[in-house]
């Protein structure tokens, strides 16, 4: 075995030892007073109301999906904008590429719009 690995193993042992010791000490020294409140989920200090797994309108899902889609596509604009001026000297290729990209994006937007994905009721 190469010698370089010994410090890493030593570190691993120390970490495991320290974590184990802390757990052991809490177990031995800490007071235990179980209660209902401690087991309830934390909701910013409020009394929990009901189950989190309820039915909610599927429109939330649709809106979230559209948001993620267009958000990700927006991210592509930033690097393009940064290098735009520099690469324009090599021809209009970079401009045409982005026009095609936006055109495809726009088709998706029109589709979502006309299909009623942006309508709330």
């Amino acid at each position: 075995m190469p010698l370089e690995i010994i410090p890493i193993l030593a570190l691993l042992l120390v970490v495991l030892g320290v974590v184990g010791a802390i757990y052991l000490l809490t177990y031995l020294l800490g007071p235990r007073r179980p209660g209902d409140v401690k087991l309830s989920p934390y909701e910013s200090g409020k009394e929990p109301i009901g189950d989190a797994r309820i039915r909610f309108p599927i429109r939330f899902y649709l809106i979230a999906m559209l948001f993620v889609l267009f958000d990700i596509e927006l991210v592509f604009f930033y690097p393009w904008a940064v290098v735009y001026r520099k690469l324009l000297s090599a021809g209009s290729f970079i401009l045409i590429e982005m026009v095609i990209f936006i055109a495809l994006l726009l088709i998706g937007y029109v589709y979502a719009w006309k299909r009623g994905a942006l309508q709330w009721d």
Binding site: K86, L87, A90, G91, F93, I107, V110, Y111, K114, R115
Partner: protein, 484 residues
């Protein structure tokens, strides 16, 4: 850093562009003209497919590569694009016959079909791993949606979910394999993977692990045996035209990528590919056929039969020669015609009973009630089981003789035995068509013109390629190893 503009070769992508424009048009058309009916949309889609076919025909025979070698159109790619276009055309035509639930949006349905076609065409015409993954995901995601297109039916949604979960799992394997290959070689071009790296043991181990993972991902798409579990459930739950498309076009795409993967002998040095392929071929054929024998539902029978046909294709792949590749392509064409034809008759039968549980019994006496459909079904069954003079026989002959040329006699013997066993379950259907009296009144609605056209084309091709195989083999003669 200097920026060089990639070479843009519009000839190479013209079939894809035609399909893309049609797909987008189909998506938007029903939104702006609510009166646009099924027939008009199908007409637009067929026109798009034909334009794409013409563009494909105009691509020169010599391999061309566009977009800085991201896209490669060699004879192999062009040939399989032809098969894929044929599959899409027949699927479109048989889709017209279905009396679907009112929620089906035909614009979306057709454009999803075209998008998956585009994905398959991208997958089959590249050496680049990233483009490969892009195309694979494009057609897979479209197919996951297509499997669940009848969204008010529980079995359709179940099929879609099963396909999505298992398909995503397989894509994970594929991506992991690609990552290992890239890490080991530093290039994404599959055909340059072994150039410029010294072949020490640890790099080779990485490359082999990567190739195996890639193989597993593709084997899932092609429904080879240890990875076939999803096939019957998904085919049964999807709309019948969608199952027809999945069983033929997906298989074609996956097998072409397998050829590309295995054709690079540098990737395969000291790796026992032939042994692995022989084991998989025997398993796939035998398991597919044995399970098909027990099926009561005709659609499930065709699903298992499609697994066994993947096994026959593997026999051709094992040969690893120009003639083997040509035989695989020939069989993909033939299989596309006869299998989509068979599914077309099935979808027509499904029209008469709502839950589509079409078992062998319900075909009793069909030969006297709707003679043309029954005749077509009988011919497709004869062809699928590999009886002369139909094209299924010639296809198997080419596949098996390519394997014999390379000395895999035992494998071919097993394949022939399997083929004989398969006659039993195909003939069971034909016996029901002609030799049994109908148990109850069989009332089939009249077949739609689209279905009739599709059945006619499929019948014509199945018979014609069986009698004059040179019509097809001449087109495939350009395919040769080593691939460019």
């Amino acid at each position: 850093m200097t920026f060089t503009q990639p070479t843009i070769d519009l000839t190479a992508v013209s079939p894809l562009l035609a399909l893309l424009a049609t797909a987008i048009f189909l998506l938007l058309l029903p939104l702006f003209f609510r009166s646009a009916g099924r027939a008009l949309l199908a007409f637009v889609a067929v026109i798009g497919l034909l334009i794409s076919g013409v563009c494909l025909f105009r691509i020169p025979v010599v391999p061309i590569s566009g977009f800085d070698r991201l896209l490669l159109l060699d004879p192999l790619a062009i040939a399989v694009h032809g098969a894929l276009l044929l599959a899409a055309l027949l699927t479109l035509l048989i889709s017209l016959n279905r009396v679907e639930d009112e929620y089906l949006n035909y614009g979306e349905y057709f454009s999803l079909l075209l998008f998956s076609l585009i994905g398959m065409m991208i997958v089959t015409s590249t050496w680049n791993l990233l483009v490969l993954f892009l195309g694979l995901e494009l057609f897979s995601i479209a197919l996951y949606t297509l499997a669940g297109i009848r969204k008010m039916r529980a079995d359709s949604v179940e099929a879609s979910l099963k396909y999505l979960l298992l398909g995503a799992f397989a894509s994970g394997f594929l991506l992991y394999g690609m990552a290992l290959l890239y890490g080991a070689s530093g290039t994404l071009q599959l055909n340059e993977m072994m150039l410029g790296i010294e072949a020490d043991a640890s790099t080779l181990a990485l490359i082999y692990a990567g190739v195996i993972l890639l193989f597993i991902g593709l084997a899932f798409k092609a429904a080879l045996v240890p990875f076939h579990m999803w096939t019957p459930d998904v085919y049964e739950g999807s709309a019948t035209p969608v199952s027809a498309f999945m069983s033929t076009a997906t298989k074609a795409a996956a097998f072409i990528v397998l050829i590309r993967l295995l054709a690079h002998s540098e990737l395969a040095i000291r790796f026992p590919w032939p042994q692995l392929l022989i084991v998989l071929a025997v398993l796939t054929m035998t398991v597919g056929n044995l399970l098909a024998i027990h099926q009561k539902n005709v659609k499930r029978m065709l699903a298992y039969s499609s697994i066994s046909h993947a096994g026959y294709l593997l026999v051709g792949l094992t040969a690893a020669s120009s003639s083997g590749d040509q035989a695989v392509l020939f069989y993909l064409f033939v299989y596309t015609a006869m299998n989509i034809g068979a599914f077309g008759v099935l979808s027509h039968m499904g029209v008469s009973n709502a839950d589509e549980r079409v078992d062998f019994e319900s075909y009793r006496g069909m030969g006297y009630r709707s003679p043309f459909a029954a005749l077509c079904l009988a011919v497709f069954m004869f062809s699928l089981s590999g009886l002369p003079p139909f094209s299924g026989f010639i296809g198997k002959l080419y596949l098996f003789s390519a394997a014999v040329e390379k000395g895999y006699v035992a494998l071919v013997v097993i394949a022939v035995l399997n083929s004989v066993a398969s006659v039993y379950y195909y003939m069971r259907l034909v016996v029901n068509l002609y030799m049994r009296d109908p148990a109850e009144e069989l009332s089939l609605p009249r077949a739609n013109a689209g279905l009739k056209a599709a059945l006619f084309i499929a019948l014509l091709l199945t018979v014609l390629w069986g009698i004059y195989p040179s019509l097809l083999t001449d087109l495939l003669a350009g395919i040769s190893r080593p691939l460019p």
